[in-house]
C-alpha cells in the first residue's frame, strides 16, 4: 500500500479517526486534489463567490475606530457583508462543489453560533441537497434566530443535548452521523479543524479573504499591513486572512481567543493560551483538557468561539512564533460590540468583536506605523437579542 497522504503542520494535524472514516477522507482528499488542478472547478466557485456571495468584500478604512486609539489607520475586512452574513460561506460553497463531484447527495454539518449552519443550509438549498445540521442545545437557545433561518432554508436542525450542549458536542454528533452514513453523506466541517484534509481544505477555501485584502490594501496604500488581527475559535477566518501574509515576515499576525470570564477563572475558550497538545475531533492540536486527558468544557459569550480545540495550523504558527495569540474576555468583547456599532455604524458578530476588542486595547502601538487590518468575520444581528438579554437594553450604550 502506498503511504497515506496526511497533512501535518509541524507536529500538529494528522488523521486520528475511526477506521470507518478513513476511506471517505481519502476520497475527499482525492476529489480535492483533482479539483485543485481543474480550472472549471475554480471558474464555477469564483463565479458563485462573485454573483451569489457578493465578493470581493470591501476593505473599509474605519476612521473613527482608528481615532479612538490615537489615530491608527485601521481597515475592516468586511466578511460580514457576504451573503448569509459571515465568512463561513466561502468554505461551504467550495465543499458543496466537492460533494457534488463525489456524488454525495446528503450534507451534514455542525454549528456553534449558527453561521456555519446557515451557510451550509444555504448552499444545500442552492443545489437541492438534503441537509442536516447538528447544534448544541445551549446554542439553539442563544442563537434562536439562526435556527429559524436554517429551517427556513430547508435544513433539519438536530439539537444535541449531550455533554456541554455546545459546539464540541455538536461536532461529536455530526461525526457519529458521518460514521453511520458515510457512503451517502459529505460532512462539511466549518473550521480549520478535524482530520486531514479538512484543515488544509477549509483554509484554502478561506484564503480568498487574505488574497483580496492584500490586493485591496496594495491599491489603497501601496504596501503590506503592519498587522492583521482576527478572532480564533477553530480559527478559519483567521487562517483565511493570515494565509497570504505568512511568507511576509514584516506582517504581524495576531489571533484573538476568547478568554470568557478570564483565563484564571477556568471558564474560557483559549485553547492556545491555556490548553495542551491532544487529540480531539481527528487531529492533534492544542486542546483544553484535564490531567487525565478528558476534554474540558469551554466557555465564551460567543457561541462561535465556544470550543475547547483549535485548528492544528494555528498550533504550529504559535509554536514557530510566526503568529502570536492573545485573548479577550466576554466583557471586553461586549464593550467592543457596542463601540464598533457607535463608532462606525457596524454591528459585529460577538466572535469578530473579540478582534475589535484587542485593537481597542492595543491599537495605539501601530499609530505611527499602521495600517492594521481587522477581519470582521461576521455581522452581529444574530447576537443582538442575546446581548440585550445580558446587559439590558438601556445598558447597551
Amino acid at each position: 500500500m502506498t503511504e497515506a497522504v496526511i497533512d501535518w503542520f509541524g507536529r500538529f494535524g494528522g488523521r486520528y479517526v475511526p477506521e470507518t472514516l478513513v476511506a471517505a477522507l481519502e476520497e475527499l482528499d482525492a476529489a480535492y486534489e483533482a479539483a485543485r488542478g481543474d480550472a472549471a472547478f475554480w471558474g464555477e466557485l469564483n463565479g458563485l463567490l462573485r454573483d451569489y456571495v457578493g465578493r470581493p468584500t470591501p476593505l473599509y478604512l474605519a476612521q473613527r475606530l482608528g481615532d479612538a486609539v490615537g489615530g491608527t489607520r485601521v481597515y475592516l475586512k468586511r466578511e460580514d457583508l457576504n451573503h448569509t452574513g459571515a465568512h463561513k460561506i466561502n468554505n461551504t460553497l467550495g465543499q458543496v462543489l466537492l460533494a457534488r463531484r463525489m456524488g454525495k447527495r446528503r450534507i451534514i454539518a455542525e454549528t456553534g453560533a449558527g453561521q456555519h449552519g446557515v451557510a451550509t443550509a444555504t448552499v444545500c438549498a442552492l443545489f437541492g441537497l438534503e441537509c442536516v445540521i447538528y447544534m448544541g442545545a445551549e446554542d439553539v437557545r442563544r442563537q434562536a434566530l439562526n435556527v429559524y433561518r436554517m429551517e427556513l432554508l430547508g435544513a433539519e436542525v438536530r439539537t444535541v443535548a449531550a455533554g456541554t450542549r455546545t459546539l464540541k458536542d455538536a461536532t461529536n454528533e455530526a461525526m457519529r452521523d458521518w460514521v453511520t452514513n458515510v457512503e451517502s453523506t459529505h460532512y462539511i466541517i466549518g473550521s480549520v479543524v478535524g482530520p486531514s484534509p479538512y484543515p488544509r481544505l477549509v483554509r484554502d477555501f478561506q484564503a480568498v479573504i487574505g488574497r483580496e485584502t492584500r490586493a485591496q490594501l496594495h491599491e489603497r496604500e501601496g504596501r503590506l499591513p503592519a498587522a492583521v488581527i482576527a478572532c480564533v475559535g477553530g480559527g478559519s477566518n483567521a487562517l483565511g486572512i493570515f494565509h497570504d501574509f505568512i511568507p511576509e515576515p514584516s506582517v504581524e499576525l495576531i489571533g484573538v481567543e476568547a478568554a470568557g470570564e478570564g483565563l484564571d477563572s477556568g471558564r474560557h475558550a483559549a485553547s492556545l493560551a491555556a490548553g495542551r497538545p491532544g487529540v480531539l475531533h481527528g487531529s492533534l492540536s492544542y486542546v483544553l483538557q484535564d490531567d487525565a486527558g478528558q476534554i474540558a468544557p469551554a466557555h465564551s459569550v460567543s457561541a462561535g468561539l465556544d470550543y475547547p480545540g483549535v485548528g492544528p495550523e494555528h498550533a504550529h504558527l504559535k509554536e514557530t512564533g510566526r503568529a502570536t495569540y492573545t485573548s479577550v474576555t466576554d466583557e471586553e468583547a461586549l464593550a467592543a460590540f457596542g463601540s464598533l456599532a457607535r463608532l462606525e455604524g457596524v454591528i459585529p458578530a460577538l466572535e469578530s468583536a473579540h478582534a475589535v476588542a484587542h485593537f481597542l486595547r492595543d491599537g495605539r502601538r501601530w499609530s505611527r506605523i499602521g495600517p492594521v487590518v481587522i477581519c470582521l468575520s461576521g455581522r452581529g444581528d444574530k447576537d443582538v437579542a442575546q446581548v440585550a438579554e445580558r446587559t439590558g437594553p438601556t445598558r447597551l450604550l
Partner: protein, 270 residues
C-alpha cells in the same frame, strides 16, 4: 504458552487453541467504572465466570465519537464517578490477581497521550492487559505512535470496517496483532435489531487476506445474533447490549446475559 512470550503472542496463541478446539471466543465489553467504580471488580469476575474468553475493558472518555448513546451515557457516568485510565489499570491489576481471562483495553487516544504512551504501555502490561484497541489510531495515521504500540508486548488490536478498501485490508491484516476486529456495519456502537445481510460474505472475503483470527462487533445484541456471527467469525463482541442488560438486571442480569451468549455461541455447529 511460554511464560516469556509477549502478550500479543499469548493472545494469538489463545485464539489458536480455541480454534483448534472449535471454540468461538466470546468477548463482552464493559465500560470501566460503570455504573460505579466500586462495582467494576465484581462485574469483571462475574463476566469472566459466565464464560467470557476475552474481556474488552472500555476506558471512559469525555468525547467518545465512535460510540452510540448507550456507551456515551456509560462513559459520562463513569467519569462523573471518578473513573480514569489510571484507576482502570488498577482495577485490571486487581482482577488479574484471581483470573486469567484475556483482557483488551478499548480506549480513545487522548487519555493515553495524557498518561504518556511509554508509561501506559508499561503500566498496562504490568496490570495484566493482553492487548489494546485504539478507536482513533487507524493504520497509517501516525508512524511513530503506531510503532511505539507495535513494538510493545501488548497486542495492538486493529479495526476493519465495511468501508475499508481491499488494499488497506491487506495492509491492516499484515500488521494485525492478536486478532482483527471487524466492525459489522458502518456506524457507532449500539444494539441493533438486525445484522448486515452480507456479514457472512464480508468475513469470508477477509479470510482470503489473512489467517489472523477475526472477531466481529458493533450492534450484536441478542443470543441469536451472537450465534449467527459465531458461524462465520472466530470471536463475537457484545457491548451496548450487555450494558443494557446491566441496567435492567444489575450484575446478576449482566452475568446471566453473558451466560446466555456463551450457550448460544457454543451451540453453533463448527
Amino acid at each position: 504458552m511460554g511464560t516469556t512470550s509477549s502478550e500479543a503472542d499469548r493472545l494469538a496463541a489463545r485464539f489458536a487453541a480455541w480454534r483448534a478446539a472449535g471454540r468461538r471466543a466470546l468477548i463482552p465489553y464493559l465500560t470501566a467504572g460503570y455504573p460505579d467504580p466500586q462495582e467494576t471488580p465484581e462485574l469483571l469476575l462475574r463476566l469472566a465466570d459466565a464464560g467470557a474468553d476475552v474481556l474488552e475493558l472500555g476506558v471512559p472518555f469525555s468525547d467518545p465519537l465512535a460510540d452510540g448513546a448507550t456507551i456515551q451515557h456509560a462513559s459520562e457516568r463513569a467519569l462523573q464517578r471518578g473513573a480514569t485510565l489510571a484507576w482502570t489499570l488498577d482495577a485490571l491489576a486487581d482482577f488479574r490477581r484471581s483470573r486469567e481471562t484475556a483482557v483488551v483495553l478499548f480506549t480513545y487516544l487522548n487519555p493515553v497521550l495524557a498518561y504518556g504512551v511509554e508509561r501506559f504501555l508499561r503500566a498496562a502490561s504490568a496490570a495484566g492487559a493482553d492487548g489494546v484497541l485504539l478507536t482513533d489510531l487507524p493504520v497509517g495515521s501516525d508512524r511513530e505512535l503506531e510503532a511505539a504500540f507495535e513494538r510493545a508486548p501488548l497486542a495492538l488490536v486493529r479495526l476493519l470496517a465495511p468501508t475499508t478498501p481491499p488494499a488497506r485490508v491487506r495492509e491492516i491484516a499484515r500488521r494485525a496483532q492478536g486478532f482483527l476486529y471487524y466492525i459489522s456495519r458502518t456506524g457507532v456502537t449500539g444494539a441493533r435489531t438486525e445484522l448486515r445481510a452480507r456479514l457472512a460474505d464480508e468475513v469470508a472475503a477477509l479470510r482470503r487476506f489473512t489467517r489472523v483470527p477475526i472477531a466481529v462487533g458493533f450492534g450484536i445484541s441478542t443470543a441469536a445474533q451472537a450465534a449467527e456471527v459465531a458461524r462465520v467469525a472466530d470471536g463475537v463482541v457484545v457491548g451496548s447490549a450487555l450494558i443494557d442488560a446491566l441496567d435492567r438486571g444489575g450484575p446478576v442480569g449482566a452475568e446471566k446475559f453473558v451466560a446466555s451468549l456463551r450457550d448460544a455461541v457454543d451451540a453453533v455447529d463448527q
